[in-house]
Symmetry: C2
Subunit: 454 residues, 2 copies
């Protein structure tokens, strides 16, 4: 009985890889086991659900074992969430406080509908299929209703049915909690469902069908020279997703990394019949995989950017132990999401400047909180600038290559772009600049690291 414990990182990670399939892995005579995931736009109406069924039939006809994870029809989740939010007010309550367990029962119905419709669509074109709700599999979660974590997936029944040629159509975004109630995984949770299911059934690959045909070196709307990546490591994708690339939910990438689930991002809008699903074929898309599957690693893989950041600088803060806690503790309590933090070492050890960023939408709340804590923190002036952009250079090759950061600084300086803050990690450099220069900065960095197609 294959299971996945997302709380136990080692469990599935060390299982032997049973099969090789597709993109770079040597062929095996066995057919593959696939999890296919389709989001709300891909199942927005009956015609699109039929299109999804054709994608599934193609893989099924190629001899693969297939499980499909579906989201709610586009707009449906928003409608249900709207009702949940409005119900307390309509009932005369002052605030929109609601029971997260009821939220889950209501909102999970969207995926339930899609799973049944896709099963019917598949049956109508001659593919044996059945729908599975989270509680039927079961997908066991913790008790954090509304934002639950998957603890365990019992893939045994689905594996058995797949072995009989039946396609499993799984309602995404949901599981069953220890109190025997439906628990949802939080918005965008269907990506997470798909990756967890792929781990639970030990799939060879998890295909995420989406409205783009892969992961790009940067946003093609900003830099027309952007290229689609054939492969990217889990670590890089995690940074890109965290930095604003909206292809995949951050949690699903984490889960894929922990359980080594090879995740393939591809387009749901391609004609299903034009795609070759046989072994060794190379359909368009981006494979997110472990480092060892990528033979020649680029130094820099992509450029991400995140808009609507606000910079806050506290001037002449007392440079003493505990001051960071005095600043960021109250902000965390107020629910302000602090991102980049830069603190200069003071010249004389007495006062220093502290700079950090928050989302534009949190700026006023952050300033109010700081004002309340002013005497405790002991700063002189709080300056703020909304409308900043964070541009990030990501690449696993940075770990072994020096000078990546200085190349960025030099290139931006050459275009007269002022750098307001810098933070770095092992595989990324983030730079805060004025929003006016964001496109120029993205294009400049994309070019200087040799990412332009050509």
């Amino acid at each position: 009985m294959p299971t996945v414990k997302s709380s136990s990182k080692a469990l599935l990670q060390n299982l032997p890889r049973q099969r090789g399939f597709f993109v770079g892995h040597g062929g095996s005579d066995r057919m593959a086991r696939l999890v296919m995931k389709f989001g709300g736009t891909s199942v927005a109406d009956l015609e699109r659900i039929h299109n999804v069924a054709r994608h599934v039939k193609r893989e099924h006809d190629a001899g693969h074992e297939v499980a499909v994870v579906v989201s709610a029809m586009a707009g449906k989740t928003n409608e249900l969430v709207g009702w949940v939010n409005d119900m307390p007010r309509v009932a005369g309550a002052n605030a929109s406080f609601y029971d997260a367990r009821e939220y889950d029962a209501i909102v999970a119905s969207g995926e339930q509908v899609t799973s049944g419709l896709l099963a019917i669509a598949l049956q109508s074109i001659g593919v044996d299929a059945r729908s599975w709700q989270g509680w039927q599999i079961p997908v066991r979660t913790n008790l954090a209703h509304g934002a639950a974590r998957i603890d365990d997936i019992d893939g045994s029944m689905i594996v058995e049915r797949m072995g009989q040629g039946q396609v499993a159509v799984v309602a995404g975004f949901q599981g069953i909690s220890p109190d025997n109630r439906i628990a949802t995984l939080g918005r965008g949770g269907s990506d997470t469902s798909a990756v967890a299911l792929a781990a639970g059934v030990r799939a060879d690959r998890c295909d995420i069908y989406t409205d783009v045909d892969g992961v790009y070196t940067t946003d093609p709307r900003v830099a027309p020279a952007a290229r689609r990546l054939d492969k990217i490591t889990f670590e890089e994708m995690l940074e890109l997703a965290s930095l604003g690339a909206k292809v995949l939910q951050v949690r699903s990438v984490e889960l894929a990394m922990v359980h080594n689930v090879r995740t393939f991002v591809r387009s749901s809008f391609d004609d299903p019949d034009s795609i070759d699903s046989s072994e060794g074929a190379n359909p368009p898309g981006t494979l997110i995989c472990s480092e060892d599957e990528i033979v020649e690693q680029q130094t820099v893989t992509g450029i991400a950017y995140a808009k609507d950041e606000a910079q806050i600088s506290l001037r002449r803060v007392a440079d003493k132990p505990g001051v960071a806690a005095a600043v960021f503790g109250p902000l965390a309590e107020a629910g302000v999401n602090v991102d980049m933090i830069v603190q200069n070492v003071s010249e004389d050890g007495s006062v220093t400047d502290m700079t950090f960023t928050v989302p534009d939408s949190d700026l006023q709340k952050a300033l109010n909180t700081l004002e309340t804590s002013r005497s405790e923190i002991g700063y002189e002036v709080a300056q703020s600038d909304p409308g900043m952009v964070k541009v990030s250079v990501v690449g696993i090759g940075m770990r072994s290559h020096a000078g990546v950061a200085s190349t960025a600084f030099k290139a931006l300086a050459g275009k007269g772009i002022n750098i307001r803050a810098i933070t770095t990690s092992e595989i990324k450099i983030s730079i805060l600049i004025d929003a006016d220069y964001s496109e120029l900065a993205v294009r400049t960095l994309h070019s200087v690291y040799g990412l332009d197609k050509g």
Copy 2:
């Protein structure tokens, strides 16, 4: 652990009545256990769901233990059923054939949403509540997906929670089948859910809140002199429901009769706060109960009518054994719903006439079927008349009163109404007449049996 086996008529019927409550039963000091059921119109939007919550709070505040059964929001089931019907065609299938198990998974989502919203609405006005899906209770059904029968309801968890003051909000219309899948009870199944739950938790009463304020002696739109009945027996209600009175599903009345569930039909549109729910109060509505709760039984309780019947007469049918089977066997196979059947004894024992009714909508199919079987049956002419109406006189007192039928015949003759066919049972007389006379016939019979309000 109280259970209800609808397949075993004796199981609950012989349980001791634990409590007396309301309308005619002597008071007890204990509070009552109630099941309240609200249909789709009563939960059509958030405002109405709030109104339902106020009805529930009133009973809860009066000290009663309360479980609520809800339908899907009005229109929702039709939308979901429409998708199920359309999906095969959109997928290119020739016919709208679909898997009833998937139908169930899809359509049951409507009640799931309402149950969660009502739980939130109750919590918002200070009433502890939680939603229950069929699989959580569980409500166990047979395998007849799409039109399942309830085999067993485990009321233990709900009884425990009700005892703690928590209102159970139960998604109607659904249970879980032996294959661990959602099973729905067929359209209108929420009435059945409510009555079955009332049996399962041994409720003192099952309140069906609907868009009318009770069961009337006849349709008030046809006979303005119609009166609301305070009480009616299960048997009479069963006849009325079967004969076209749309207040309750036939199945739910059968179930109420078998398990002796006192069922109270009342309006969901009354102001919740204007109703007295204390013991001994007598709110407007009709109690459906066993004969022994009705002290003075009327001879005739009500007049029902069913429109859009078609009469078929086979002339000069060979009067020999097996001819009825030769006529009605093929019709049953063709799915034609035959209702009244009248066969005269032939004068000379050789040929006879046979008359029966079918729904207008089945008439052409019936005639085609009869034409195909013509040589086998051996009739001379098949005559048909669409647009008939069946008027029925119902009353449990008929069992002990002679002359009820002749009163009807005399009254109709006095108005010049021609009787085309007659069938009778122990407690009803059904008369087929031309549709033109239906209102006149209903009013005449209503008056002649002393049912007019006065």
